[in-house]
């Protein structure tokens, strides 16, 4: 049952082979058994999950089911879910019970999906290893001594360990794609504005985008049908016709032009990763695709530009966590300024504080032009690179991450090394493009390697088609870690 696709689960439920309550209980039992070590979930609520499952069974009995009705999902703990503790991986929100549903949560609820629990993540989505979470490290199910990636590390581990059918993530600089790659699953970051950010706790508003994480491109397409769509509560949500993301899955890839950015295959790329990606490209050639070398000349500036813009926005977005209205407040303080200082010093972890300080600095009087404005200019140049590139190709491919999953604690002391693990993903966020990662083999230490597929704006359906056809021809996405 735990190896079934969403489509298969849906037909099992429709055929009354299993009830949603039974399926939910099955996952809850697995979570109870495996989560204490893997730590993919921060918060579980059996009563809420089973109540939803019961309602889903009723809906199925009434023949009112939609494709995801009754299927157990997990939600990244960045999404507010009414009645659920919503921590964003931070001590600051350790006891925060959300009084409302995020757009994404509301959409899954409407579809009759089950929320098994809230998944672990780097604190306020700031991190690439899930090690900045206040709620502890997450183990990579493929090797429990390694990181799952981040910031959607809990989601990636939960999907890989079959602790849910699929789950949600968010991606500001690679936070869906990098953990998907490191845990051997599929993940899609849609075009900026396709999925509403309403109720998703903000890290860097101009970059944050929610997306699905699952075991196959087909699963992601079904989830996109639920998550995407205009929402008037988010001013950056794009007003577009609803689309069926499964509509072109079956399309053959004959004539597909794949662009390979030369900057993604140079120094810094692990040989094992490079080899797996190369083999994947060869597979695509067999499927009828042609390959063209392209250049993204400004992509080398994406990491420095990102580490100006994202912290700038974050420094402002996180100002609301001040101990006044909700969340953590220091137990003792002498006056207002002391309350602010102690609350924020105690409530935020080191990486969050580092980024707030960077962001505050780059926005300060006298530095704004040199940092923030310059980074914005670079951002436009990076977007322009992609516009040029898409004149010559339909999709761009390359590695998702320069290496496979590293050891827990390995990069903890060196933030710059950690930041470089998103070197291939960040430019996509800066340009607002859709990007995805799918498993394409194994590298050193038998750890999964991810292939990154970058599409043009609103080309999600095409990208899912490109991924799905590969997954029909290969079985990397069906491999499961041992011992789970």
């Amino acid at each position: 049952m735990i190896e079934l696709s969403l489509k298969q689960l849906s037909s099992q439920l429709a055929g009354r082979k299993i009830s949603s309550v039974e399926l939910t209980q099955l996952y809850l039992d697995r979570i109870q058994q495996l989560n204490p070590e893997i730590n993919a979930y921060i918060t579980l609520n059996h009563a809420l999950a089973l109540a939803q499952a019961k309602a889903a069974d009723q809906r199925i009995a009434n023949n009112e089911a939609s494709p995801l009705t009754g299927i157990p999902f997990a939600q990244k703990d960045i999404f507010c879910a009414k009645g659920w503790r919503t921590t964003c991986g931070s001590k600051m929100l350790e006891n925060f019970i959300a009084p409302y549903d995020a757009h994404v949560i509301g959409k899954f609820n409407q579809a009759g999906a089950i929320n098994l629990g809230k998944t672990n993540m780097d604190e306020f989505a700031m991190g690439s290893s899930n090690e900045t979470s206040y709620f502890g490290k997450v183990q990579n199910p493929w090797d429990r001594t390694r990181v799952p990636g981040g910031s959607s590390g809990g989601t990636a581990a939960a999907v890989a360990a079959r602790l849910c059918a699929a789950a949600t993530g968010t991606d500001t600089g690679g936070s869906i794609r990098q953990p998907a790659a490191l845990c051997g699953i599929s993940g899609l970051k849609p075009t900026y504005g396709v999925v509403s950010r309403y109720g998703m706790i903000a890290f860097a508003s101009s970059l944050d985008q929610a997306g699905p994480m699952g075991r196959s491109a087909e699963d992601l397409a079904l989830m996109m049908n639920v998550m995407a769509g205009f929402d008037e509560r988010d001013s950056t949500s794009l007003q577009r016709e609803a689309e069926d993301y499964t509509r072109s899955l079956a399309q053959p890839l004959q004539g597909l032009r794949i662009g390979l950015p030369k900057e993604f295959f140079g120094e810094g790329l692990g040989a094992d990763v490079g080899k797996a990606v190369e083999e994947a490209i060869n597979q695509y050639k067999k499927l009828g695709a042609t390959v063209v070398e392209i250049s993204l000349p400004n992509s080398k500036l994406s990491v420095p530009a990102y580490y100006v813009l994202a912290p700038a926005e974050a420094s402002s977005n996180l100002s609301r966590f001040d101990g006044v209205r909700y969340g953590y407040r220091a137990a003792e303080y002498s006056d207002l300024a002391d309350m602010y200082e102690k609350t924020r010093a105690q409530g935020f972890g080191a990486e969050v504080k580092r980024r707030i300080m960077i962001g505050t600095y780059v926005l300060s009087h006298g530095y704004y032009d040199a940092y923030y404005l310059k980074a914005q200019k670079i951002r436009r140049l990076i977007a322009q690179d992609f516009v040029e590139a898409y004149k010559h190709c339909d999709v761009i491919m390359g590695p998702t991450s320069p290496s496979t999953a590293f050891k827990l604690g390995e990069k903890g002391d060196d933030p710059v090394q950690m930041y470089l693990s998103d070197i291939y993903t960040i430019a996509v966020n800066l340009a607002g493009l859709p990007g995805m990662s799918i498993p394409c083999g194994f590298g050193a230490n038998n750890m999964p390697v991810g292939l990154q597929i970058i599409g043009n704006y609103f080309d999600e359906a095409r990208m899912l088609n490109v991924a799905h056809q590969y997954q029909l021809a290969t079985d990397w996405h069906q491999r499961a870690p041992q011992g789970i």
Binding site: C80, F96, G199, S205, R233, S235, D322, R325, H365, Y372
Partner: protein, 501 residues
Amino acid sequence: MWRTSISWRPTGINARHRGFEMTWEIVIGLEVHAQLSTNSKIFCGASTAFGAEPNTQADAVSLALPGVLPVLNKGAVERAIKFGLATGAHIAPKSVFARKNYFYPDLPKGYQISQMDLPVVGKGTLTIQVPAVGKLPAYEKVVGLTRAHLEEDAGKSLHEDFHGMTGIDLNRAGTPLLEIVSEPDMRSAAEAIAYAKTLHTLVQWIGICDGNMQEGSFRCDVNVSVRKPGAPFGTRREIKNLNSFKFMQQAIDYEVQWQIDTLENGGKIQQATVLFNPDTGETRTMRTKEDAHDYRYFPDPDLLPLEISEAWKNEIRATMPELPQTKQQRYVAEMGLSAYDASLLTSSKAMADFFEAAATGADAKQCANWIIGEVSAQLNRDSLDIDKCPISPQQLNGMLKRIADGTISNSGAKEVFRTMWAEGGEADAIIEAKGLKQVSDTGALEKIVDEIIAANADKVAEYRSGKDKLFGFFVGLAMKASKGKANPAQMNDILKKKLLE
């Protein structure tokens, strides 16, 4: 006519400063926060109604819960456009919301959404009528507007009744404001107040702000500096949050005196924000430039740039009422009123509507005199606004027509007015009931005059021998004999004729 440089003349001038009035020039600029009259807040659907129980109008966005996002209220933008149109200002086809970052308990997000580099309304002008002060005549002046931008208000910190703690009320957080910034064009407190009043009238006139100063719907920050005429601008100090014109006058007077005193005693002015204390009539430094925040403004990534099309502007333009300044010009050109009287009659839309209705088919100048004179005096005495005037414009119009056609004299009209005010009724009915109709029957008037001449032969002889001043004496007798009802002009003619016969 307008003057660029009017020196300040304080009342009760300090002997020490005798003669300084020609040596210091006052420079004033205003920043006004006008609360826009939308039903809901600028970035969410919570109500903006005044006076609700604390935090009953604080929804998820007002509370800045994690994950909430701002959505711009179109009504607030429409009001900003109206203001831009009313002041002949540049309305930006594209403007940008920016975050102003600072920590304060009544600022729930830790930043205020405002506009910085690209405001919705750019440069415009406001024409003001400065009233006569002492020997200085009234005059007109055009004040430059630097910009007007949209922003959200903060909540309120409540320091009483919380046992040493501070209460936070977020009902007001997110209320839409239009911050209107003037050029430093004012050269006296009188000009500053005329500007503030004109602006206050305008925002109500075009229906974008209720103008309620007690409830904080129209708050003024006044930047004051002094300099020697011709010198560069002096260092300014900003008087914050003045919510009455009376306080504004007092605060400026005090501040100017303080700055002049300081400079004349060899001191220097430090740029500062000051508060006015109405109890002491003094201004007090709140913070100096050294403690100024670095607000770290940057474009708000949660909001798209605000785009305003020509079509949208035109749509709004079509709904705009005739503006006070246009009316003033019309009153002067078409009705022959003075610019100052025209400005008084356009001090509110209700006043202008009243005037225009009352003046229909009547002598506009006479109508203006009645409204500025008797009507306004009575309204003041009874503490009423023009829209609560017990005499309708139609009633006043009826009376004016009877003055014009000679049915009643001015003294008769005053009697009609008093009766209308106290008891109501139409002019004709009152004239009839009180017998106020003038006697214009030539025969009857001649009869009265003949009798007076017969009874006062000696005075007639004196008059005829050249004592012209006695004419008034005969008029008095004639009016008395007619019981005040004689048509004065006609009576004069007959008297003159008969006395010279």
